[in-house]
Symmetry: C2
């Protein structure tokens, strides 16, 4: 290639850059409204200003901060202090398409809910002291009334505590030894067991395999609380309300349905397991109450609703899966407006791949036809660093089985043909940036493959995955991390992802249009806010 002049070079350089970015959703330079262009510039200027003013300083215990850095380290001392974060908090986010209900409400709220139910008890495998408190896990359980009488009155921190004796939650909290922090120390002990801290993610458990062990442990500890029916209902309410507060107008969470012994839902009297249809009834009630409340406040268009992706865990047998597929169909018939799809969850690197379940999964279409329902697969796939491992190969099966979206799809960028198919068939990727980073698929946002997906024109919705464990409540943190780590992605791209999170939801067409139009209205207001208030921070 030869160039007639420097300006010829510059022109062709610009053409090449535009051609390279032509598939991006935000590739519409010249087509932006005046307001969009201005707001985009304010955000870019603010990002650049804060890269200097905020990110180039040292912070206690953070020797080398950078935008897009390890979330758990940067969150409190830096990220939440930025104006960029404050502004993004007000952005209308569209839908949240990938979150596991069990892990959506911040732990402080959950522990507060626990204080309200006398059934909730806690025990430990040994008396707690300063030496063992970091390693002994709490066990929680709602006990039926007749068993509560035998529950211990001795503090968990008393050296005379008899290992594995149940203590009522509030009593355990009040009697927690002042040497271990008293009631606050009790909450810290529980919180540590239900969340991942920076040392775990970045030092002691700094591989995918090891951090998954801690990750799974947080679910096992929290499940008896979260899945106690009265708490679960309030938990779902809080999930929805806090999502709305963060600018999310639709949620499509996954709920894990597991029959019998493994993490069942427990009835209010703690005597029995709750049939799954009653969990959906609760969810429906909460939903209707929230919507009625919003309507009464004149904010009806702030929340379009919620639908549930029925999931079970990929450690079951193919025969057991058939039972779940049938239950999912039965629930879809009873709650057609609530069931959005079907998925299998759990560590893809360790548990069963989709191909293991191929027979029941292939049968599912026929089962749906017979029942007169339609339930799309919305599979997790490629949440892995593997190259050709079973977890990576799940992407082939997810796509062949007609998945509507792909959960994570972290390894999708390795697969040119699958990328092509995702674009042809309009399969969106539920990208969970902070989850991927904390679960050590990427060391920081800068190694995340998201820019590859965006530049290839694959539709993407940003998601939070398990915010109660990761601390990325709402979607603002995930949007922030993505924005901070790029010089290309700006406000327009964030808006496009928000729109895609509605477009690729399972909402009916009419609802989708209504949601999109409500989003557009709030987006315009948000842009005005950015243009008006943003420059004050520069």
């Amino acid at each position: 290639m030869s160039f007639s002049s420097l300006s010829d070079y510059q022109t062709r350089r610009q053409d090449l850059i535009l051609a390279d970015r032509a598939l991006r959703a935000d590739h519409k330079t010249g087509q932006l409204s005046e307001l969009e262009a201005q707001a985009d510039k304010v955000i870019r200027d603010l990002r650049a200003a804060e890269a200097e003013s905020i990110w180039s300083r040292e912070y206690e215990g953070i020797p080398h901060p950078f935008p897009g850095m390890e979330f758990l380290t940067g969150k409190r001392s830096i990220i939440v202090q930025t104006k960029l974060f404050e502004i993004l908090g007000k952005m209308p986010k569209g839908g949240l398409l990938h979150a596991h209900v069990d892990a959506t409400v911040n732990v402080a709220h959950l522990l507060n809910l626990a204080t309200k139910y006398p059934a909730i008890h806690v025990r430990a495998s040994t008396a707690l002291n300063a030496t063992n408190i970091g390693s002994v896990l709490p066990e929680l359980r709602p006990l039926p009334e007749d068993l509560r009488s035998s529950a211990g009155l001795i503090a968990l921190t008393d050296s005379n505590y008899v290992p594995d004796t149940w203590v009522q939650f509030n009593k355990a909290k009040e009697s927690f030894s002042p040497q271990l922090g008293g009631p606050e120390g009790f909450d810290r002990w529980l919180t540590a067991a239900m969340t991942i801290n920076p040392t775990e993610a970045y030092v002691t458990h700094n591989t995918v395999t090891k951090i998954w062990q801690k990750f799974q442990s947080t679910f096992l500890v929290a499940a008896p609380l979260v899945r106690y029916r009265p708490i679960h209902k309030e938990y779902c309410r809080e999930f929805i309300l806090s999502s709305i507060a963060d600018g999310i107008s639709y949620v499509e969470p996954r709920i894990n349905f597991l029959k019998d012994i493994v993490r069942p839902f427990i009835s209010a009297d703690a005597r029995s397991h709750v049939p799954h249809r009653e969990i959906l009834q609760d969810f429906d009630e909460v939903l209707n109450e929230v919507k009625a409340d919003l309507k009464a406040q004149g904010k009806g268009d702030h929340f379009i609703g919620a639908r549930i992706i029925y999931t079970t865990i990929r450690f079951i047998t193919p025969e057991e899966l058939e039972w779940y597929l049938q239950e999912c169909i039965d629930l879809k018939k009873e709650f057609p407006h609530l069931i959005a799809g079907f998925d299998l969850v759990g560590d893809e690197n360790v548990l069963k791949p989709l191909i293991y379940y191929i027979e029941p999964l292939l049968k599912f279409r026929k089962m749906q036809e017979d029942a007169g329902v339609e339930i799309p697969f919305i599979f997790h796939g490629g949440e892995t660093l593997g190259d050709g491992t079973e977890a990576d190969m799940n992407l082939y099966d997810a796509i062949l089985l007609g998945t509507k979206r792909i959960g994570h799809g972290f390894s999708l960028v390795k697969h040119p043909k699958l990328i092509e198919i995702c674009k042809e068939r309009d399969i969106a990727i539920e990208v969970c940036p902070i989850s991927n980073e904390i679960l050590r698929l990427t060391s920081s946002m800068h190694m995340h493959p998201l820019p590859i997906l965006l530049n290839q024109g694959v539709p993407v919705a940003l998601c939070s995955d398990d915010p109660s464990v990761f601390g990325n409540m709402g979607l603002t943190f995930d949007y922030f991390q993505v924005l901070a780590a790029s010089e290309i992605t700006g406000l327009i791209q964030l808006g496009e992802m928000a729109k895609d999170s509605i477009k690729y939801s399972t909402l009916e067409q009419a609802d989708k249009e209504q949601a999109l139009s409500a989003w557009q209205k709030r987006w315009e207001e948000f842009l005005k806010y950015v243009v008006t208030e943003g420059p004050r921070y520069l």
Copy 2:
């Protein structure tokens, strides 16, 4: 998509996998010779066996090893113990297309060379003791004879040592305090300053910015030794000989030419700077001696030769660059067989981007035409985690300027149009897996974008970059890391990359064909060895 049967599904699944891998160089199932197929299987079986037998154990100080793990941590206790590593050591590697001569010979050898020249002196900014030895850097310098008389006789570790007094290298070594390890402690002190250790890479300097600081420091410490003309000549010889010993049959290293004060080449009498043409003369002599020796041993086809990529550092002004471009042309005229191309080196994230030099770079073609020579650009580009930063944008300029290959191209995978162009114009990527990992672009081989390039069909040559600093001497380590971290890449793909390293060299067509045919012969021998000896390890 619907499937008539399970076997229909399986067939279409296999078709999809093959379509997804159709662009890979190793995508020729069914076209493999019996020998290739057998050898590939042996290596896959051995990899799987060692994943169990070697990688699933714990090692002292390595709580969670995995294939493709951090190189500096896994190298000695694990990688070099594997049979896979032993076998790959015997593989014919083709050409080494990306290595900086200053950093190609192991430090032990360099320190041994230093003992042979009385001119070599060393000093420190303070007397060394157990407390400061980890932070005080050695300064090395060849001194002219008349200055040597003033050189101190006191040990660097003597509390009476006068800061910054030169001590002759051998004397400094012999007199090094036994408390600090004596002569071996002296070598350890120097080695630590010229290499990166696991703690630096993975703890204290665990970001791209910080590790580059240590990385650059290793060059500053070693340069006065490496660039002392008599040592440099022996250093180049050892680089070539050790490459040949590792199965490399051609090298195309970069030599940094810097005029005057910055890291000059120093004459044997240590009185003057060496004109760059004399460095090339030395290189040429070494080359001819090595080739003659090999021929005498009947191993003439083990080494086809070497050519040098002329480089300077991207901190100069555009005006200064013109001087270097002209010198490069002058050297090409005098040593047409030795000058392979032109490049700019140094941290792309911090130093000047290509666009800063666009005027002289655009002039270069005309300058070549006037001089009747042809010197391709072989640019570094995209050695960065940045998304749209200057370092990332270098890829646009490298490609517009007609680069023959791209050094690193780490961020290329983000750029769909540039990938397309690389394939159309047959631009190979010099991928340096271990360098990228130690310089923190990727946390382990599993996050490296190489599989994306391979699956997109972009030609790739694996390279070592700066093996004296990283400890990845030869190419066996880099091939090992790539093989260990994938379930897809096998021996056939490694062979294709070896072939590409010859195909995309700057060798003349006739030499290239000769090199390829010699490689093919050795490859067949290697495959036979794998098939014969490999199964013994299973």
